[in-house]
Amino acid sequence: MNLHALSTIPVVEPVAADGVFSLLWLVIALPLAGAVILLAGGPLARGALDKWGHLIGTAFPVGSFLLSVVLFVTMLGRGEEERQVGQDLFTWFRTGSFDVGLDLLYDPLSSLFLLLITGVGSLIHVYSIGYMEHDPRRRRFFGYLNLFVAAMLMLVLSANYVGLFLGWEGVGLASYLLIGFWQHKHSAAAAAKKAFVINRVGDVGLSLAIALLFVTFGTTSFAEISAVSGEASESTMTAVGVLLLLAACGKSAQVPLQAWLLDAMEGPTPVSALIHAATMVTAGVYLVVRSNFIFELAPHAQTAVVVVATITLLWGAVIGCAKDDIKKALAGSTMSQIGYMMLAAGLGVAGYPFAIFHLLTHGFFKANMFLGAGSVMHAMNDDVDMRHYGALQKAVPVTFLTFAMGYLAIIGFPGFSGFWSKDKIIETALADNLLVGLCALLGAGVTAFYMTRLMLLTFVTDKRWAKGVHPHESPKVMTVPLIVLAALSVLGGVLLIGDWIVEFLAPVVGEEAHHEPPLAPIVITLLAVAVVAVGVAVAWFSIGTKRVPREAPQDVSFVTRAARADIYGDAINEGLVVAPGRRLVGGLTTLDRHGVDGAVEGGALAVSGLSGQFRRIQNGFVRSYALSVLGGTLLVVLALLAVNYS
């Protein structure tokens, strides 16, 4: 499967932070400070914070973004060997030989994440100013957003797995708070709980992986593990890799832990954009790429990653085809696109840079489209059913144009950012395994189909608006982030000029020794474009040329019904986990009630009954006491005699 396992794995060797890099901790501290001020400062200055909280909450991530840009530019000015910068803040805890510091690591990989998280995150904050304008709990919303960004920054900046776990859990907490932000809606509260619980499953994997790493290497720091990772046995590495994959599945909504992502659409739309583009779901991809020194030594774990990713990219794409809820269609699309990233990450050295590349471009166009969807919902009185849209391109021209840029990017229209990144992944996949490559190619076609369907249903076709809906363009504060993101969606491909991103990430993930695609790259590209064209054409002829009913038709094929039901993801969970779990708990309760309680209570009853019998001996008659004394004495004497004469 993996041809590159023998290529050298780069060792993480950070140099001490100096100059502007000594401010690295501020990148995390700024949004964290924002979260603390907005969430804990409520009782002190409620009036001022309610009035200005959204501006404060936006200023901190923007500051963090500016700092990230400065750091990035400074790093570009340095030589390649000095680009990994470590900052050890303080000893977090130390018990026995387990010594964990709150250490930060800034390298090309985390630098790109920093720019994505703070950049796209800031744009989403700006957008939220408009989107959440009339929400009475806006201050709290921005506090949670800041917490989300801070946790994600902690995740990508930590220099060891324990710090990463801190950020990992922080992201989980913030997503729970934000998905359930409108907690008065039962569905939102349930979705938040679902996301939290499913993420816990993945977290078990991560904590076990960390424990296993510590047992094996005696440390959790990336630098120390990467230096000696070759010394561990392959089976250990495979176990760690599979556990890390489980963790990544939970956070990145990969099959089989994907069920929370579609329900997570219950959160406010900027939250969906944040979860899908800048934070949260990208964490799994980051984890796999960051742990390259483990996966490179565990080919079986890499195969598992590829299999999971391939299943997910088709699974998500099929779901995206059948959803009428615009946000859920986009959520299915995210699953599918994250599947592409995981696929690239599972392909090893050849794929890591493209996983990150696709992650960045996806961050741009998916944030763009989610915010665009929010803008459409804003115009349609928060209706999310695409069957109630239609012909919106005139009503919301800016949203339409920006959304179209995201659309062209995601389907891989030549020249747009998604074209470059997805094409590279398909090419790498084909070079590695024909079947996986063809699945990726098929996924591209399905992506083109469902995105075209979404575009047609929303912006083209005929008007199917509900009564009393008067679509209007969103305010500037919402459209400007859309325009910026649309520009990034178009231009994201520049990162690939001269294989810049491959060389840039080489110090972290290594550089592949050889690369021989089965077909010439240009043929693969043409093939991909052709498949995309077919997907678009199918969508056009099946939807664009027909009248779209306002109600979803019920006499549909089995496949459509399955896709509408998230390919029975919930039913599978219910059948395989929830129902057996309930039965197990029911059995244990019965066992406890009748077995354990029975033994304890039966014991007590027996003692009590026996006491009742013994009580009768105490009858008060002196002569019976005298008899027992005599009998006892005789027994003692006989025993003594028996001992003496035996």
Binding site: N619, F621, V622, R623, L630
Partner: protein
């Protein structure tokens, strides 16, 4: 020698049977004394046999204890008889009344 020990055993048996079978507290009491004195007899006999004074000293102690016991026991029997007009030990099967 054997006769002394046999006599002591017979006396002890008579005493214990009396304690177990008679109801009158005074008779029970007398039987107890009989048992004690059977023990004394055995002690003195063994002391004579072994040629030391340990058994005789023990017999004195038994006598002292028996005397003290008689004082307390008779007092109790007297009190019981006064309250219940009966000296039967079976009537005194409850701690109160």
């Amino acid at each position: 020698m054997t006769q002394y020990v046999v006599l002591s055993a017979i006396l002890f048996s008579i005493g214990s049977i009396g304690v177990l079978t008679r109801r009158n507290a005074i008779v029970v009491f007398m039987c107890v004394e009989l048992m004690l004195n059977a023990c004394n007899l055995a002690l003195v006999a063994f002391a004579k046999q072994h040629g030391n004074l340990d058994g005789q000293v023990a017999a004195f102690f038994v006598m002292v204890v028996a005397a003290a016991e008689v004082v307390v026991g008779l007092a109790i029997i007297m009190t019981i008889f006064r309250t219940r007009r009966s000296a039967s030990v079976d009537d005194a099967s409850l701690l109160k009344y």
